[in-house]
Assembly symmetry: C2
Homo-oligomer: 465 residues x 2
């Protein structure tokens, strides 16, 4: 393994972790980091380092790194900024390969001192070949190990999945992490880059492209110093692993705020937009859209083209999905003649029997519903399906019937669902669908929007650049 990869691996799959500045005082961040590691069931060895303590969290504490009886791969540092350079040197001498530097007070502050401190730390880390996440970060989480090297123990509650979230903002990582929890979306890694000593978006994207547990890279950016490096790293991936970007600073005030916040040049949004497109990075416009699109990209095959069928248990939600599809340049396309004939055989004349199909008047007849969905899934003139079903107590079994059909069929085209019910009623069906590569969304509009991002990736692959 290249030395660079070794250091990056140490950040995500360490065999032993030291917490320098560990604490059992709940008022200190060091105690939250200890809770994250212990409650998060990290399977490696944990070494709290604190000269004033001989024990905490039921384990031996060490006065310094050098007393630890084995090699430490990763140090999480939660010390005041002025103690950091000395500590990084000690880490280097101990053979530590990765550091999560939670401490703030570096490049992000308004004076020169912080900038100088950050340069010093970066230089030391580079000398020792150490990779640093941070400073000014909540940390990193690898849900697959699991490793929660952050000050937020609750991140361990997130399901493990294929989306790696790389963020310049701790707040945004927390927001998207909590949205993942609420919507039961699985994540692979949650990475707060903070003020980026020597691990910037470029290095992280390069690493995640070759990480087998990452299916989709979802980035949140404010402004970066070396956009070109990121675009090159993304471009080298040849679009084989989808990369999404949600960049704020689209408005003048927010752009200026991002300069303050991250200590780096933000720069015109249009410039970024163009560069993202060149590099094959798909942009999105909100935190929810980032997660919705990432979920679709993790679960679904890509559509072969833009011809969408909208099948809905009720006409209204189907129309709402159509609106978004067509606004996003997807085509609500006519069925093949055979499909159309079959749909007309199965549906009474009460219903809209062309695309978008209103299956409502046939709910009493689950064989008809299954027949329609099956026929449309097999139609070679249809590239993707949006399937909407709203619960009513008279059609409670609809989700079950359709879930069984979809799990049995699993055609090689994307199916995005909006199965909506009062909390708790269709949870099992939705879980089964998502477990089998069929994402569910809270509204038809969000399902359609996520599909449009899938199709944008199809287009990129056909005509890159």
């Amino acid at each position: 393994m290249e030395k660079k990869w070794e250091a990056m691996e140490a950040l995500f799959t360490p065999r032993a972790v030291a917490v320098i500045g560990a604490s059992d005082n709940p008022g200190k961040l060091g105690s939250h980091v200890m809770r994250s590691l212990t409650e998060g069931k990290y399977p490696g060895r944990i070494y709290p380092v604190n000269p004033g303590k001989s024990e905490m969290f039921g384990m031996k504490a060490y006065p310094s790194l050098f007393q630890i009886p084995e090699t430490v791969d990763l140090s999480v540092i939660v010390l005041p900024a002025e103690q950091v350079p000395k500590t990084v040197t000690e880490c280097g001498e101990k053979g530590v390969k990765g550091i999560v530097l939670i401490t703030a007070g570096f490049k992000e502050i308004e004076n020169q001192k912080g900038q100088a401190l950050q340069s010093e730390v970066t230089k030391l880390a580079d000398q020792f070949g150490i990779k640093i996440i941070g400073p000014n970060t909540f940390g990193v989480v690898n849900l697959h190990l699991p490793l929660n090297a952050s000050f937020t123990p609750e991140f361990s509650r997130v399901d493990k999945g294929g989306i790696s979230l790389v963020s310049q903002s701790g707040g945004m990582s927390h927001l998207i992490g909590f949205l993942s929890l609420q919507n039961k979306v699985g994540l692979s890694k949650i990475i707060g880059l903070g003020n980026r000593c020597n691990v910037d978006f470029a290095e992280m994207v390069e690493y995640l492209i070759q990480d087998s547990q990452t299916k989709v890279i979802a980035m949140y950016l404010e402004g970066i110093d070396q956009p070109k490096k990121l675009m090159e790293a993304a471009g080298r991936g040849k679009g084989e692993k989808p990369i999404l970007a949600y960049k704020v600073g689209r408005s003048p005030t927010s752009d200026q705020a991002s300069r303050f916040h991250t200590g780096s040049l933000a720069g015109k949004h249009e410039v970024y937009e163009g560069a993202f497109k060149q590099a094959g990075i798909l942009t999105v416009g909100s935190s929810e859209e980032l997660l919705d699109a990432a979920k679709a990209l993790t679960l679904c095959p890509l559509p072969g083209g833009n011809r969408v069928a909208v099948l809905s248990g009720q006409a209204g939600p189907g129309m709402a999905a159509c609106d978004i599809c067509e606004m996003e340049r997807l085509a609500i396309s006519p069925f093949s003649a055979e499909t159309q004939k079959r749909v007309e055989e199965l549906l009474p004349p009460l219903a809209i029997r062309t695309n978008p199909v209103d299956m409502g008047p046939a709910w009493y007849d689950s064989e008809a519903i299954k027949g329609i969905v099956k026929t449309v899934l097999e139609d070679r003139k249809i590239d993707a399906v949006v399937l909407c079903v709203m619960f009513a107590s008279a059609n409670r079994s609809a989700a079950r019937v359709l879930t069984d059909l979809l799990l049995e069929r699993r055609p090689n085209k994307p199916i995005l669902c909006c199965f909506s019910s009062p909390p708790g009623i269709w949870d099992d069906e939705v879980k089964q669908l998502e477990g089998s590569g069929i994402p569910n969304y809270p509204t038809p509009e969000r399902a359609a929007k996520a599909l449009s991002t899938l199709y944008r990736l199809t287009k990129r692959r056909v005509r890159p650049g």
Copy 2:
């Protein structure tokens, strides 16, 4: 009371309801209607009508309407279409004032027969002065009585509140009803207009404008026959009660589908947009946006102008809110000199201390946070506040501190929050805030978007038309 109002009142506040076609067979819609009324704790008298039964749901069943020993205000009809004209006549003779006509198979079907049947039913109802909701509807719900005269018992679980939802689509009503349940948004009435015999959007808006339990009217439309009548009804309200419209059919396919579905002309979306604007109706672009905006309009005072302060516990979510504000033509405005001075006293130089304020580095200091929020709330150069706080285990008390401050202050300007935490952690604080007129949203972007709709109403009132 005018006769017209009397009939409309009968739809929402009946003293006695007959269910014609009541059933205790769970395969029949008539049984779901019975469950809605009984499980929904309707406080009036319920009379199941079914010639084949003498008892159901523990109550006496009647062979016909005429055997019921008192006046019936509302009939819910769940019979085959061909029996409906006779039944409407019987209702007229019995003195029934309102009918919820759940039966489908009228104007929405592809042949002439349904159209003729609907004309006949309408004529009969008009002769007797009966108002009909439907046909082809799930029903109506008045959460304040409570009355659940629909085939969906689960609607009774929705909290009561100030938003009345008027929808042309049963599916969309269910979707938005379930979103309300998930997000704990209170509704006043849920009305499925169906294919509209003699109660169209115009009549319903006219009624809801004078209904004291309706604070905001939220409409979902596909296409209507008499848009002018609706616009006049809305215009007569002089914008005193906010009216929102989510109209699908923005895309060609969806527009065409709505003609099939509702049997009415849909027509160019731009024409509707213009007419809505003229009538003071605020348009929105999705089901979630409809509910988000309705919630803000129900809870918040209107902003006096477009000068917004964004205060955030973390910089990233604050910037995301700024982006949406500025894209929606709200201004992220400089603070007054005194406010700016005070913020600089309270916040360390680690933070962004101008609008949008990043309060992150002062989380250890709840007095500082309170001081900042208090000062900005009182700034006369600020018309509205977006307040974002992402949970971390080290700032668990933040929501409590801010909630207490906001409940104590309640300034007469809108405050829209995004307090985000893992499920269950900040539920009490959010509930208290929303109970006191401060809405909470799942993301900063959605909070900012809802604020933009509040401001659109401010503008309409200053410069109508």
